[in-house]
């Protein structure tokens, strides 16, 4: 093993501004801006406050779960089960609320607890079996979906609690729609946890070099289980927003949403191998996907194509993150 020689500091000249842009992950901010300008020209409706509130609402689910997924990916793991977890949490919340007289707090607690539970099982199996988390969560993707379909008999469950609907779906706080408020709360919470807390340091270290983290006295198994649990819980919160908005919990909700969530996080600059990434990046990634979907809609592009575009975004995000590594 030859020693790494110190590289000369890269001077910030126009010449390598492009490389700096890629290296620092600044490209996505430029990308978001460029997308918005392009759509602003292509559609007169795009650049309106109403449409922006729309985008915020539409991206809520992905943004909330992207906060959790960012933690998981920075920690060096993956969670493919978030879509099913969201459906299962929503279904459980709706069913229990029916049983206890439509108390919103019961629904909220049950949804968050269900999500956290699925996440914790994912985490425990991953660390105890020492298996790749994407395989474990591929299993739970199916299990959670199956259970959601089973307990509902594949039919949607109606939600009658007005409080519930207002708090998570349709209310406003100082003029801001609650889904957006919840997104902001999660983002700030995520930023504090990841960038300002001691635990955040442990997440970064575990993802950056698990062995070194372990040798430094960090309980890496605990860190992994916790981040996966948090992601599950945020999937539960996403379920609250979704079910409140649609006044019903559908067992087939959220299929394939893991694609958006993972794309958002990788687009936001998280390294695939773990150890780097930011919450703000994940949020911007999610907004890019949202703006793209919204813009393509306004311009009148086939919704089927949008699915393909999501896949292409993942490829693009991977290509970008590879550039960053070099």
């Amino acid at each position: 093993m030859s020693d790494t020689e110190p590289e000369p500091a890269v001077a910030l000249t126009l010449k390598n501004a492009w490389h700096t842009l890629i290296a620092t992950g600044g490209l996505i901010y430029v990308g978001l801006l460029a997308l918005m300008i392009a759509f602003a020209f292509a559609s007169p409706v795009f650049l309106t406050a109403e449409n922006f509130a729309n985008i915020g609402r539409q991206t809520t689910l992905v943004s909330i779960m992207a906060v959790g997924m960012a933690l998981v990916i920075i920690n060096g793991e993956f969670d493919l089960s978030v879509g099913s977890t969201m459906a299962l949490s929503g279904v459980f919340a709706a069913i229990t609320m029916k049983m206890v007289g439509h108390e919103w707090i019961v629904g909220a607690v049950v949804a968050l607890a269900t999500g956290a539970m699925v996440g914790m099982v994912n985490g425990l199996l991953t660390v105890k079996l020492m298996m790749p988390s994407f395989l474990i969560t591929l299993g739970s993707l199916s299990i959670a979906r199956g259970l959601a379909l089973l307990v509902t008999g594949t039919r949607p469950v109606n939600i009658l609690s007005e409080d519930y609907v207002m708090i998570f779906g349709e209310g406003h706080v100082v003029g801001i729609p609650v889904p957006i408020v919840w997104t902001i709360v999660c983002t700030i919470g995520g930023i504090i946890l990841l960038h300002f807390s001691t635990f955040g340091r442990k997440i970064y270290a575990t993802g950056g070099n698990t062995t070194a983290a372990r040798y430094s006295g960090i309980n890496t198994d605990f860190v992994k289980v916790t981040t996966l649990t948090i992601t599950g819980m945020l999937a539960g919160l996403a379920a609250l927003v979704l079910t409140a908005r649609s006044h019903a919990a559908r067992p087939d909700a959220g299929a394939g949403i893991e694609l958006d969530v993972i794309a958002a996080v990788i687009l936001g600059g998280a390294a695939l191998g773990g150890g780097t990434g930011t919450i703000v990046g994940a949020l911007v990634g999610s907004l890019i996907i949202g703006v793209l979907n919204n813009g393509l809609n306004l311009v009148g592009v086939d919704p089927s194509l949008q699915l393909a575009v999501k896949g292409l975004i993942i490829w693009f995000a991977i290509a970008l993150s590879r550039r960053r590594v070099r």
Binding site: T4, Y204, Y215, G275
Partner: protein, 525 residues
Amino acid sequence: MMSGSVSDPIGTSAGPAEEARSTPPLIELDGVVKHFGNVHALRGVHFDLRPGEVHALLGQNGAGKSTLIKIFAGVLDKDSGTIRIEGRETAFKSAAAARTAGVAVVYQELSLVPSMRVADNLFLAREPGRFGLVNRRKLVADARRFLEEQGLPLNPTARVEHLPFAYRQLTEIAKALSGEVRVLVLDEPTSSLSRGEEEILFDAVRKVSRQGVGVIYVTHRLEEVFKLSDRVTVLRDGANVGTFATSDVTMEQLVGSIVGPSGTGAASSKSEDYERAPPSETSQPVIELVDVNNDRLNGVNLAVQAGEVVGLAGMIGSGRTEILESIFGLRRIASGELRIDGENRKVRAPIQAIGLGAGLVPEDRHLQGLVLDHSIERNVALPRLDRLDFFGLFRRRESKARARAAINGLSIVAPSTGTRAAELSGGNQQKVVFGRWSDPTPRLLLLDEPTVGVDVGAREQIYEVVRTMVANGASALIVSSDLGELLMLTDRIAVVAGGRVVDVMPVSEIRNEEHLHQIVQEAQA
């Protein structure tokens, strides 16, 4: 006529030694120089290998052996000097070029597919057969015949992953030999073998050399040199000390030339520049291991007094590192006691060891020490995260101050605390690993090869850091292959072999580095 036979090692056996002398050497190096930045790894090395001989290559860590091997393998290119293969000048530009020239380097477990059988591995990517189909029967038969010809006691249908370690090593050798091989390079092949397994390997090496192949045998163990080799070349600080016929040298002479003149005086110079009160014999040991057993240790007994520095001397694979790992909670202790301040403790995880006041500087800083992608500040904070915690929030400013203190205190050359660890030189990286333990100073420092891959200047600074920590009340347990370093830093030396502490002696009883070298060699036997 010679070239025909050596290019086909399976064919008729090569001529006897007299004939070999009349032909040009198989491989000849002249004035080979290699730098890494401003570190001179090789400063004009000469080396030659004759057909059919076993040529041992000796030297301490950092003497240039591994660089030389990499040049043989074509992994590294020399900066200047010449390499001649059978008298013709060659330059290896790649591993493939070296291989084509007939040079095969046996790495440890690098070139085998564990889930495949021995025969499959031998003929990997050149299986006998037609139309893309493998003739499995012929494959096994060919492999069996080849192994019998080479005299290697291997079952061609055994899966590699089920083989004991020595036989995997043999498979590596067999695989290396299965092409057109004139030069076989073995890099510390016995470092993880047991006694009996070694003999199997030695037999194989002898048989191979009898076929006319030249064998370059790199080792730390001097007894092997005498058992196996015809000639021996010693390197020190990237230059030749000498090449001897094995029959003409004694072990003392070899040790002397490996260690060099500076080593002979090391023990005496030590007491001068390193003065402090000797730890009192009556004090309670900070840490004591009583009959500690696990998968790699066989009843280790060892005690470190407060303020004492104990060195662990032994071969790679002797259990030195495992002793540190067992103390630090990285390796489960199956039976025996680990007493800290006289109290029996069960340390199951590093966090507990750290809580009890231990700090480890691991052997491989890239793999076990640092998160290379992260900043100095992040790395320095790692083992102290819980101390930098304020109701769940991370005290960033304090962590930065700590990192800055570490940079200043250890003279780490870096633009800021935000510099990525990957951008630092080896010495500075190692200082960052030390910096993690600088505040507060641990009560027991566990250092595993603290200066490996570190240049001379940084090495002195690291010694200074260790001394300062000890002066501040730390005890230390140091593993090092650099025996001079052990003599310089420690109060007592524990000799480790076969997963046990064989002997403990005060440094004052050791005459010099040469003497310690001999003690270690004898403990092995």
